[in-house]
């Protein structure tokens, strides 16, 4: 058995396959509606904005902002072995959708972390089948 820092994603819905395949190539893929033009996340078989089933996939820029956060001091899941404390993050992507992840490469200190700070994706390969998107403070331009 390989020793992983975190539980692998659970059973994969076919409609989400391009998301997981994209991550393996360090790409953050998002489903996007060809009718209303809006992207969404998590992947599903119809657009939650206009209910069209005319969807395609686009590669996200990987840029966004920290919409909300927590700093976890107590583990609620023994399968996650990340040393405490660490940052739970809700990211709002430039393309609109929000997703949950961790904010990494920053000290887990509420004085340093604030909502709306710019972030960018950083990929972490768990094994040959799974790569996950994490986020770090965006580099100054």
């Amino acid at each position: 058995m390989e020793q992983l820092e975190r539980p692998l994603p659970a059973p994969l819905a076919p409609e989400a396959k391009p998301y997981w395949e994209g991550l393996k190539q360090d790409k953050l893929m998002l489903p996007k509606c060809k009718d209303c033009g809006k992207a969404h996340f998590y992947p599903r078989i119809l657009c939650p904005h206009c209910h069209s089933r005319n969807l395609t996939w686009v590669e996200a820029s990987g840029r966004g902002k920290l919409y909300a956060f927590e700093i976890l001091h107590r583990s609620f899941n023994p399968a996650v072995k990340t040393p405490l404390p660490y940052v739970l993050a809700m990211i709002e992507l430039e393309e609109g959708p929000r997703l949950l992840s961790n904010l990494i490469n920053i000290k887990p200190d509420p004085a340093l972390i604030h909502c709306d700070m710019p972030v960018q994706v950083v990929y972490s390969k768990l094994n040959d089948n799974f790569t996950l998107p994490f986020f770090q403070p965006a580099e100054a331009k």
Binding site: R6, P7, L8, P9, A10, P11, L12, A13, A16, F41, Y42, P48, Y67, A68, F69, E70, I71, L72, H73, R74, S75, F76, N77, V80, T82, P85, Y86, L88, A89, M90, P97, R98, L99, L100, S101, N102, P110, H114, C115, D116, L132
Partner: protein, 387 residues
């Protein structure tokens, strides 16, 4: 509007005539989840002056289906409801029960809750986590405190609310718990105590998060004509509302405010023909200190960011002008996991004048509002001791 006119036909057609908890509450490793249900039903029927065999409608949420409750209880209901959308499901079921009673689909409805939330006795956890399992759990999410804090930090960012203000909610609620012999924690609390308690998940110290207990509770409803023959003063269901918006916090459009709560309360107020200023007593689902202020804002009692003011300067505390969470809440009295039954029991008791040291004087109109999940679902009940 026509929808509200039709809903108003249901107003005051049924009453809560029985309300009770399980025999014991707290940490109960010797008691099964089913026992917590059956004790509560038995106690609530006795409180109503009705027999268990009178029950012909069973409403429950959580791990046990209404069919299993009926089987264990030894009754054959002609109406069941197992709506399970989180802890507010029991409040939502008040609406379902009054509709069923009105149409004579049942005559005596019991809404029951039993949860061995702490000790997990007689429990099988069955939960579909496939979406959360893919997109949330791998990052360390997986329990209510890991999600509700996100709503809370966003609220702090948008409106400038502070840790001290959230702490005030815990302090106010504890002041009520001190007057409730059934509350788990009754020692006085200060804002400083809350702030310096063990950090669980910033912005929450342990005193910003509800208890995890074993307990049950049930209420009994019947049509208003029959309610007059029951043992206690009837509590009229004047208005109800429900809504669900999302499951994952990422799908919550109005974050940090709750669209489900706005919709649910607006419908309940319209059906009851009441407005915000009419309430003498308020019960809000308090899984976290930030929950009740955000609910008050979502319901329109306060502007966004100003809900916390309801908990300041003693306004919500014993002797205050608008008492909130008079049982001591999920924060200090009990919280099994699906807390929504308990604010219904407390509102019923306040409206009957049964609350002893914590009785709010002259209560006529009480609001019960609860959430399911992370402000995902909402249930609202407007209750009164007069028609």
């Amino acid at each position: 509007m026509a929808q509200h006119d039709k809903m108003r036909e249901l107003s005051n057609t049924a009453c809560i005539v029985g309300a009770a908890e399980s025999d014991e509450m707290g940490i109960l490793p010797h008691k099964s989840q089913m026992a917590l249900h059956l004790e509560s039903i038995s106690n609530a029927c006795a409180d109503a002056g009705l027999k268990v065999s009178d029950v012909d409608g069973i409403f429950t949420a959580g791990a046990h289906s209404p069919a299993l409750i009926a089987e264990a209880l030894g009754v054959t209901p002609r109406y069941v409801d197992g709506t399970s959308v989180g802890g507010c499901s029991f409040i939502i079921m008040v609406e379902h029960a009054i509709a069923a009673l009105h149409h004579h689909l049942c005559d005596v409805a019991v809404i029951t809750h039993g949860e061995s939330g702490r000790s997990q006795v007689g429990v099988t956890r069955v939960r579909d986590t496939s979406i959360a399992g893919c997109y949330e759990i791998p990052y360390g999410f997986g329990a209510p405190p890991t999600w509700f804090g996100l709503i809370t930090t966003r609220h702090m960012h948008e409106y400038g609310t502070t840790l001290e203000q959230w702490a005030q909610v815990a302090v106010s609620t504890r002041a009520w718990a001190a007057l409730n012999p059934k509350a788990m924690y009754r020692d006085p609390l200060t804002v400083a105590d809350v702030l310096k308690a063990k950090m669980i998940a910033y912005p929450f110290t342990v005193l910003n998060i509800c208890l995890v207990t074993d307990a049950g509770g049930a209420i009994v409803l019947t049509r208003a004509d029959r309610a007059r023959d029951c043992a206690k003063k009837p509590v009229y269901v004047r208005g109800t509302g429900e809504a669900t918006e999302h499951v994952s916090v990422t799908q919550m459009k109005g974050l940090p405010l709750s669209e489900a709560t706005r919709m649910s309360s607006a419908r309940a107020f319209a059906m009851a023909g009441v407005s915000h200023g009419d309430f003498d007593h308020i019960m809000l689902y308090d899984a976290f200190t930030s929950g009740p202020p955000i609910m008050l804002e979502s319901m329109g009692f306060a502007k966004p960011g100003e809900g916390v003011a309801f908990f300041e300067n003693g306004k919500s505390t014993p002797g205050g002008s608008l008492p909130i969470n008079t049982n001591g809440g999920g924060l200090s009295y009990t919280h099994t996991g699906m807390y929504g039954m308990f604010p219904l029991i407390e509102a019923t008791r306040q409206l009957r004048g049964e609350c002893g040291a914590r009785q709010v004087p002259n209560v006529k109109l009480s609001l019960v509002n609860g959430m399911g999940g992370m402000l995902s679902a909402a249930g609202t009940a407007v209750l009164s001791n007069e028609k």
